[in-house]
Symmetry: C2
Subunit: 347 residues, 2 copies
């Protein structure tokens, strides 16, 4: 297959993100607000998030939103405890949110069914309103990303993040206006394509570390997954705080670091990490606010004035672009990574 054809699905889906975000935003009042209000009236005290793969990073983003904005304690489900080990916990007053692009993973459907039987308020967030997961849930939000054909998820991820932001912001009584700036800001990143611009530096990289704190940590995780699944690079992600524990021993001159450093509290909390990396002479690509990473080797500055809680929806785009460009340059096809299927059946 020639270089023009390889990765064209993924490239098109990356570029569709501004339109997909605008499409979902337009459903906020009619689709998402009534569900948020119905859930709020039930007064959940805890939340559990269930997801796999890319969707698990959207779930992790929701964990930060729920804890910081809504003040709810949150757990990430280990589906095997319900499906393999047969646990049947009391889930009254629990909001169970299952996130899945396809809505088709059998273990998510099964664990959600058990959760609903256990008394949880169940919400599915999928890109497939006719899916088994949508049917298994009491509530369902369609992320309206449109059909996604590349195996590496891109636009479904950014729309999952936006759907979860709109839901959770409404849960705590917000007006969701922080999201209004996203389609235009995303378009600017698509037009400039900064991820492709820096890709040549990473042509021969075999190992990479990604890091971020708070809302940006899911970006570090999802960016690492994109690099792994499209370019087969050994990409590790750590929260900025965890990186200073054991994994810091791995940082050396052959292992560049990608650090997500947005405007805001989470980005500022990365400064001690950036200082330690600089002391160690690490090669650092900073994405976000250059002021939080003055010693970075390379910087991708993102549009300014975006609220930190929605900035992950923009941060991921340069990493998708980087993963795509690295994969094509290495002669791979990011549309169809070896060994992967679009819908993964685990149970």
């Amino acid at each position: 297959m020639n270089e023009v054809l390889r990765g064209q699905l993924m490239a098109a889906e990356i570029a569709e993100q501004p339109a997909a975000l605008a499409r979902l935003l337009a459903t906020a009042a009619d689709q998402i607000a009534p569900i948020a209000d119905a859930i709020r009236a039930r007064r959940p005290r805890f939340a559990i998030l269930a997801a796999r793969g890319t969707s698990d990073h959207a779930a992790l983003y929701a964990k930060y939103l729920l804890e910081i904005l809504a003040g709810l304690p949150v757990g990430l489900a280990s589906p095997s405890t319900l499906t393999v080990f047969g646990s049947e916990p009391d889930l009254s007053e629990v909001l169970w949110i299952a996130v899945s692009q396809s809505g088709g993973s059998p273990d998510l459907v099964d664990s959600t069914t058990v959760a609903r039987r256990g008394g949880a308020i169940t919400l599915g967030v999928t890109n497939a309103s006719a899916s088994p997961l949508a049917s298994a849930c009491e509530f369902h939000i369609d992320v309206h990303a449109g059909p996604e054909r590349a195996v590496a998820a891109t636009k479904s991820y950014s729309n999952q993040l936006l759907a979860l932001y709109l839901l959770i912001d409404r849960l705590r009584g917000g007006d969701g206006r922080a999201a209004d700036a996203l389609p235009e800001a995303a378009q600017a990143i698509v037009d400039i394509n900064p991820g492709a611009e820096v890709a040549p530096r990473y042509r021969f990289v075999e190992r990479i570390v990604t890091t971020g704190r708070g809302y940006a940590y899911p970006t570090a995780r999802e960016g690492a997954l994109k690099l792994m699944e499209t370019s087969y690079v050994a990409a590790h992600s750590f929260s900025g705080a965890d990186l200073l524990h054991g994994p810091f021993a791995m940082i050396d001159e052959d292992r560049p670091v990608v650090a997500i450093v947005p405007e805001g509290l989470g980005g500022e909390a990365m400064r001690p990490v950036m200082n330690r990396l600089a002391e160690r002479g690490a090669d650092v690509l900073a994405i976000g606010d250059p002021a939080n990473a003055p010693d970075a080797t390379v910087t991708i500055a993102l549009p300014r004035g975006i609220a930190e809680e929605v900035s992950p929806i923009l941060q991921i785009i340069p990493l998708q672009q980087l993963a795509h460009a690295m994969s094509v340059a290495r002669g791979y096809d990011p549309d169809a990574p070896r060994g992967l299927r679009k819908v993964t059946e685990t149970w």
Copy 2:
């Protein structure tokens, strides 16, 4: 430094584990049972676990125990939401368990203080009863591992697991007897040293994947961390179910897999994963019950007849031995990995 001196602290602490387990077991009735009973009387409905690094893997093990044995929904804390972003959630009816070898990480102490102010029942599990974390908690369990001097934690980890098992088994009304077999079984693994035996095969490995499901997933995580921090190998860990999503694309002939396949439901649930790995021609080291990994390239059989919920306390030993042997063979010093400190200060 010569080869005899390098890693001698870590080797001694690995070998001390049977005695350390026996020492902690002897405190079960007097130290752990009264705390479990007091917590049980308060009827927590949800648990949150807070930890970093190796202790975070002990916390993950506790998550499986709490969900499966005690039927409690569980969240893993993101300390930054309390310390960096200033969230103050309502934590009444929440059991907050902070796990730390040193009890000295400032962010753990701070987030625990906020949790206690928010109404949580707070329990510290440390190896330092005079530590700030022990003082910040309403309840404290000393894991009695004895002083740990190697930077790479070993005996403090296995004793954290045992302390959490004894606590949670008692919470659900169990008698803890499944743990009685552990010191003798651990001694058998220390005497045979199977991790060192297989280490020469991995002398030149740069990238490795570890995997397991359920109770064994924390072993995969902790094993990967040990390999990263002592041998600087790029070790990725995935739950067996997640591995079949994006990360499976990384599996190739240069990247061996370590699979934890105990007797029991979690080990049996690894069989489809093992089949996919075999189809792909992956090089697999299986640790646990050989019957769950008939196609593995190399197998370390662990003592039989151990209950699955306590088997992680044994599974980690061969991985500690492997990490130690690989590190020494490569000329590193596993007692003092580059760039790491024994107590990591994050906030």
